[in-house]
């Protein structure tokens, strides 16, 4: 599946583009399982049970992967942006 970022649309700002680039960089550091779960959850909008079936994992394991991925993304992206709109 080839995924295109909405950052590509013309109305998006340079700031958003930089944030997505930061997400891009951090996502590359995640373990493959966590990256896959984030991909299926955030981009494909799949339920945890569906992801578990697709990956042959327990639903609790899928939830843990998503939990850990969010935690790592928050930790590493907090240095790159502030969700309140104030850039660091």
């Amino acid at each position: 599946v080839t995924i295109r970022s909405a950052c590509a649309t013309a109305e998006q700002t340079e700031e958003q583009r930089e944030l997505l680039e930061a997400v891009d960089r951090v996502m590359l550091t995640l373990p493959k399982e966590q990256r896959t779960v984030v991909l299926l959850r955030a981009l494909e909008h799949m339920e945890y049970s569906e992801i578990a079936t697709a990956l042959s994992l327990k639903e609790s394991t899928v939830r843990w992967h998503m939990y850990e991925a969010r935690r790592v993304l928050r930790e590493r992206l907090s240095k790159a942006f502030d969700p309140g709109g104030v850039r660091r």
Binding site: V1, T2, I3, R4, S5, A6, C7, A8, Q12, Q16, L19, L20, V23, D24, M27, L28, L30, R35, V38, L39, A42, L43, E44, Y48, R63, M66, Y67, R70, R71, L73, R74, L77, S78, F81, D82, P83, G84
Partner: protein, 187 residues
Amino acid sequence: MSDQVMNCSRAEALINQRLDGELSGALDQTLDQHLLSCAHCAREMRLARGLERLLSTLEVPSAEPPGKPPELALPRWCSVPPPSSSRARPAAALVHTVPLTAAALLILAVALSLLYATFLRGRAPTVEVSALDVRFTDRAAIWESLNEDAVAASPSRRDCDGARARAACQPSDRRDGLRTQRCGCAA
């Protein structure tokens, strides 16, 4: 659940549930109360919201737009590596297919030649042996008939003493069966 028993670890789990849209009722209010009193968790909540919004801006295209601008770079982490199957790369597939086909044909040719050689080497000696057998049989039969004719025509035998045979043996002596037990000659 009261705010006293709510710690930051529990709040983080509830934040994830809220992000998944699975938090409601009393737990939702409990989390809000904790966020009001905990700056760390409140910041985590803001970061999590911002991250979810950021991830939600990513999309999966249903089809490749015809006039895709070059600056529309794909996120590296969600890109799929280019297909490496032989169907996608026919030239590369030929590189692997042609030698295999040639090897298979070579093996087939060798096998056929071996079978052919075995067929020739297996049947030809049989034919020759059979022919030799036939010839030998014929020759033996001819020999036998010739010997019989020779014996009938002459009383001489190899284990007979030539001189004695010539002196003693007579065709009539052999034919009567009385003196021809071994060689047709008189003892």
